[in-house]
C-alpha cells in the first residue's frame, strides 16, 4: 500500500475519527502546510471580507492574478476574511517559501505591481509595510516589526477572531488543521449532552447578542422541555447600524460557527437548526453555504455525524431585513413566514418557540465561544473577563477613532483602553465626547465613564447596555441632540407597530426632537413650549420603557435619555438660544454676509427660497435672520465666498 499523497489525506478520518494521540510524521507535515507555517510556493493572501471589498480588494485580486499570469509566477492566491484592521485596508499578505508572512496595508490597483515586484525580488516595499507575522518555522524579514506587536493587535485578546483574516474561510481542511472540530469529535465520543450543558453553565457564558442571559441555563430549559422536535436558531441578523461583528466572524471563519452550533444542538437534543442571516450579507451567505456543503460532504453535518449516531442539519433562512427581528420571538415569526412581530413572553421560546416547539435562539458570537469552552475547558475560558462576565467580547469600533475595525477584548476592559490604547485616540487630535454602546437603542458613555469596566454588571450600574457589540465613538464636532434624533428616527422606523407605547411614543419623541432642532415655525411657538417638550421627553421615555412589549421598545428611549442626562446643556442651548454649537443642526445655522466681500451680484437674493436676503444691485446684501431657515443655498451659490456661517 502506498502512503496517501497530501491532497488525498482525509483529515476527518485521520484526525477526528482516529482518536490517537500520536500523529504520524507525514500527517504532521501536511498539517504544518495547512497551517501555512511553511509554504512550497509563494502564497498571497488577500483580505477579502466585505470591508475589504468596499475598500477595493476585488480589483486588487484581479490585478494580482494578472500579474502572476503575465510574469509566469507560480503562486497560490487565497482570500481571507477581515483581520480586524479595517483602518489599514485593503490588505494583502505575501509569504515566500522559507520566509515569514509579510503584510502590506493601503494596497491599491496602482501600487500592487510595485509591491509584488519588490517582494518577489526578496526585498520589500517599506512605504506600505504593515508588519510581518511571527512564525517559528521561517526566517523573519530584517527591519520589519511584527504585526502581533502593533498596539491595535497586541492589546486585544483574540479568541473568536483568532483565525479570522489568517485562514482561508473556504477551506474546511485548514480549520481542522488548526484544531477545528476536535471539540465536537471529542464531545461526541466522550461526553453526554448533560455534561456539555454543565460545562457551559460553569463557564458562565452569557448571550453575546445583547441580553446577557446565561447560555447554559437557556440550553438546560430547552433540553428539559417536552417536545418530539426541538430547534436551534442562530441569530445572524445583525442589523444595528455600525455593527459588523457577526458578519466578520462568518466571513472569516464560518466553520467555527458550525462547530458551535453542532455542540449546542448536541447539548440540547436538537437535530434541526436555522441560521437566520441578513440577505444583504451576500459574502457571508456565500461562505456559509460553502462551509455547510463541505461539512455535509465530510460527514460533519447530516446523519450519524462521526459515527456517533448524532444527527444534525443546518438550514439557512435569509432575512428580509427588519431591525425588530433581532428580538427572538419576532425572529421566530419571521422564519415561520409571518410579519416579524414579537410575541408576548412567557411562554419563552425554550418552551414554545419555532412551530410551537422548544427552540434555542443564540447569537453568532455566543455559539462561536462554545468550541473553545469545550475544547480548552472552563478554567481556560474564565481566565479572562470578570467573575460575572467571563470571556471576551468582540466590538466593531467605528466613528471618529484614529483606527477603526473589529476588536476582541476581555470583558471588563475599559473604554479608555479601547479608544486610547488599541485605537490610538481620536482622529485629527480632537477630543472625545461620547461613545454609543449597544447600537441605536443603547446609551452613550461619556468622559466620566471612560474608566468603567465594560461588562454586563458595570454597564447596567450606569444604566447602559452591552448590546451586541457596536461601539461608535463621537468627537467634539458631534451634536448630541442630532445624534439622539438620528437614533430615535431609526427606532421609529424599526418599530413593528404592534404595541402602542413603542409605535406612537417613538414617533412623538422624534417630533419633539425635530421641534427643538429647527427654528420656530410661527410666532405662537414659544421657547416655553419647546422646553415643555423636553420635560415630556423624559416622562414619555419612562412610559415607553416600562410599558413596551419587547426589548426594542423597552430600550428605545435610552439613547435620548442618556444624552439628556449627560448633555442637558446642549439640549437647553438648542431651546433657549436656538443654537447648535457643533453646527450640525442645519436649520439652526445662521449665516451672515460679509459686506467687504459682497459684490452685490444679487445671485443669493434671487436663489433664496425664503426671500430672506435683501439688497440693491452692486451694494452689499443682508440676511434677515427672522426669515432665514438656514438652508445654506446662499452659501453654496455665492461665487465670492461672502456668505459665512455665523
Amino acid at each position: 500500500m502506498s502512503t496517501p499523497t497530501a491532497s488525498t489525506i482525509n483529515l476527518v478520518e485521520e484526525l477526528l475519527l482516529k482518536n490517537t494521540l500520536e500523529i504520524p510524521e507525514d500527517l504532521e507535515q501536511h498539517l504544518i502546510k495547512l497551517r501555512h507555517m511553511t509554504v512550497e510556493k509563494p502564497l498571497i493572501y488577500v483580505g477579502n471580507g466585505t470591508c475589504g471589498q468596499v475598500a477595493g480588494s476585488i480589483k486588487i485580486l484581479k490585478e494580482i492574478e494578472n500579474y502572476l499570469h503575465e510574469n509566469n509566477i507560480d503562486a497560490e492566491v487565497i482570500e481571507t476574511g477581515c483581520i480586524g484592521m479595517c483602518w489599514a485596508e485593503p490588505l494583502i499578505d505575501i509569504q515566500l517559501p522559507g520566509r515569514s508572512r509579510l503584510s502590506y496595508k493601503h494596497v491599491s490597483q496602482e501600487n500592487v505591481t510595485e509591491i509584488l515586484d519588490a517582494t518577489f525580488n526578496s526585498t520589500f516595499e517599506p512605504k506600505y509595510i504593515l508588519g510581518q507575522f511571527k512564525n517559528e518555522f521561517t526566517e523573519p524579514w530584517e527591519g520589519i516589526s511584527f504585526v502581533e506587536d502593533i498596539p491595535f493587535y497586541k492589546n486585544q485578546t483574540r479568541r473568536i477572531l483568532k483565525y479570522c483574516g489568517k485562514i482561508n474561510p473556504y477551506s474546511l481542511d485548514e480549520y481542522i488543521a488548526n484544531g477545528g472540530f476536535s471539540s465536537l469529535s471529542d464531545t461526541l465520543l466522550t461526553k453526554t449532552p448533560a455534561q456539555v450543558r454543565d460545562l457551559v453553565i460553569k463557564s458562565g457564558l452569557r448571550g453575546r447578542g445583547g441580553g446577557g442571559y446565561l447560555t447554559g441555563k437557556k440550553w438546560e430549559t430547552a433540553a428539559l422541555s417536552q417536545g418530539d422536535q426541538k430547534y436551534l436558531i442562530c441569530n445572524a441578523d445583525e442589523s444595528d447600524p455600525g455593527a459588523f461583528m457577526d458578519r466578520a466572524i462568518i466571513e472569516g471563519n464560518p466553520h467555527l460557527l458550525i462547530e458551535g452550533m453542532a455542540l449546542a444542538a448536541y447539548a440540547t437534543g436538537t437535530s434541526k437548526s436555522y441560521i437566520y442571516i441578513r440577505s444583504s450579507y451576500e459574502l457571508a451567505v456565500k461562505r456559509l453555504v460553502k462551509a455547510i456543503d463541505d461539512c455535509k460532504e465530510a460527514g460533519l453535518l447530516g446523519h450519524n455525524i462521526l459515527n456517533s449516531g448524532f444527527n444534525f442539519s443546518i438550514q439557512l433562512a435569509t432575512s428580509a431585513g427588519a431591525f425588530v427581528c433581532g428580538e427572538e420571538t419576532a425572529l421566530i415569526n419571521s422564519i415561520e413566514g409571518k410579519r416579524g412581530i414579537p410575541r408576548p413572553r412567557p411562554p419563552y421560546p425554550t418552551q414554545r418557540g419555532l412551530f410551537n416547539k422548544p427552540t434555542v435562539v443564540n447569537n453568532v458570537e455566543t455559539l462561536s465561544n462554545v468550541p473553545m469552552i469545550i475544547g480548552e475547558g472552563v478554567d481556560a475560558f474564565r481566565s479572562v473577563g470578570t467573575k460575572e462576565s467571563p470571556g471576551t467580547k468582540v466590538f466593531s469600533l467605528s466613528g471618529k477613532t484614529e483606527k477603526s475595525g473589529l476588536i476582541e477584548v476581555p470583558m471588563g476592559y475599559t473604554l479608555k483602553d479601547i479608544i486610547f490604547k488599541i485605537s490610538g485616540g481620536i482622529k485629527h487630535n480632537k477630543s472625545f465626547k461620547a461613545a454609543q454602546i449597544g447600537g441605536p437603542s443603547g446609551s452613550c458613555l461619556v468622559e466620566e465613564n471612560l474608566e468603567t469596566p465594560i461588562d454586563y454588571e458595570s454597564l447596567s450600574r450606569i444604566d447602559a447596555i452591552m448590546g451586541s457589540g457596536g461601539l461608535v465613538v463621537a468627537d467634539e464636532d458631534t451634536c448630541m441632540v442630532d445624534l439622539s434624533k438620528f437614533f430615535i428616527g431609526f427606532l421609529k422606523d424599526a418599530s413593528c407597530g404592534k404595541c402602542i407605547p413603542c409605535r406612537e411614543g417613538t414617533h412623538r419623541m422624534l417630533e419633539i426632537l425635530e421641534d427643538i432642532t429647527r427654528k420656530p415655525r410661527d410666532a405662537n411657538h414659544k421657547t416655553l413650549d419647546r422646553f415643555k417638550g423636553v420635560m415630556q421627553l423624559e416622562e414619555l421615555g419612562k412610559v415607553i420603557s416600562e410599558t413596551s412589549l419587547c426589548g426594542l421598545g423597552q430600550t428605545a428611549p435610552k439613547p435620548v435619555l442618556s444624552a439628556l442626562k449627560y448633555f442637558r446643556q446642549e439640549f437647553e442651548e438648542h431651546i433657549y438660544e436656538r443654537k447648535c454649537s457643533a453646527n450640525v443642526c442645519r436649520e439652526l445655522r445662521t449665516y451672515e454676509i460679509d459686506p467687504e466681500a459682497c459684490t452685490g451680484c444679487t445671485l443669493c437674493m434671487v436663489k433664496c427660497p425664503e426671500k430672506a436676503i435683501i439688497g440693491a444691485v452692486k451694494h452689499p446684501h443682508f440676511i434677515v435672520e427672522s426669515k432665514c431657515t438656514g438652508c445654506g443655498i446662499c452659501l453654496e451659490v455665492c461665487k465670492f465666498d461672502a456668505v459665512k456661517l455665523k
Binding site: G321, A322, G399
Partner: protein, 155 residues
C-alpha cells in the same frame, strides 16, 4: 413575466406558509422588485389573501414595490456614516435627482435607497452605485459621477 413567476413559485413551494418570504426574495432577485402580479400569483399559490402577502412583504425593508433605475444608488445611513454627515450627502443627492429614497427618476435612469449599514464604517460616508463603492465621498464627487452617467447615457 407570467411564466417566470410560475417557475419561481413552483420550484420553491410546497405550499407552506414558511416558503412565503423565500419565494418573495427569489421574485425580487429576478425582477429587482415585487410587481403587483407577483403578489397575486403568490397569494393564489399559497392560498393566502393577497392583502396578507402584501402586509408581510411591506413589513420588511428589503422588498421594493417599484422597479429600480438603471443606476441604483444606495446611501449608507449607519451611525458612523451619519457622524460623517451622510444626511447632508443624501440631501444633495435628493436635490440633484429630484427624487426621494425608495423612488426612481421618471426616465428610470436612477433610483435612490438608504441602507442601514454597509459594514465598512472606517470608510464612511459610503455611497454604492450598482456595484461600485464610493468611499469617504463628498457630495461634489457624487454629483460629478451622476453628471458623467447622464452624459454617457445621452450618447
Amino acid at each position: 413575466m407570467e411564466n417566470k413567476l410560475q417557475e419561481i413559485i413552483t420550484s420553491n413551494s410546497n405550499s407552506k406558509r414558511e416558503d412565503l418570504i423565500p419565494i418573495l426574495q427569489r421574485i425580487q432577485e429576478e425582477f429587482n422588485y415585487l410587481p403587483q402580479e407577483a403578489i397575486y400569483a403568490v397569494s393564489k399559490a399559497l392560498e393566502m389573501p393577497a392583502s396578507k402577502v402584501y402586509s408581510i412583504a411591506s413589513f420588511y425593508n428589503l422588498f421594493r414595490f417599484q422597479a429600480i433605475g438603471k443606476y441604483h444608488i444606495r446611501v449608507c445611513n449607519g451611525t458612523a456614516c451619519h457622524l460623517s454627515k451622510s444626511s447632508d450627502l443624501l440631501r444633495e443627492i435628493k436635490k440633484e435627482l429630484k427624487i426621494e429614497p425608495g423612488h426612481a427618476t421618471s426616465n428610470r435612469l436612477f433610483s435612490l435607497e438608504t441602507v442601514p449599514c454597509m459594514g465598512a464604517c472606517h470608510l464612511s460616508p459610503i455611497v454604492r452605485i450598482n456595484n461600485t463603492y464610493h468611499t469617504q465621498v463628498e457630495s461634489e464627487e457624487i454629483k460629478r459621477v451622476i453628471a458623467e452617467i447622464r452624459k454617457e447615457e445621452e450618447l
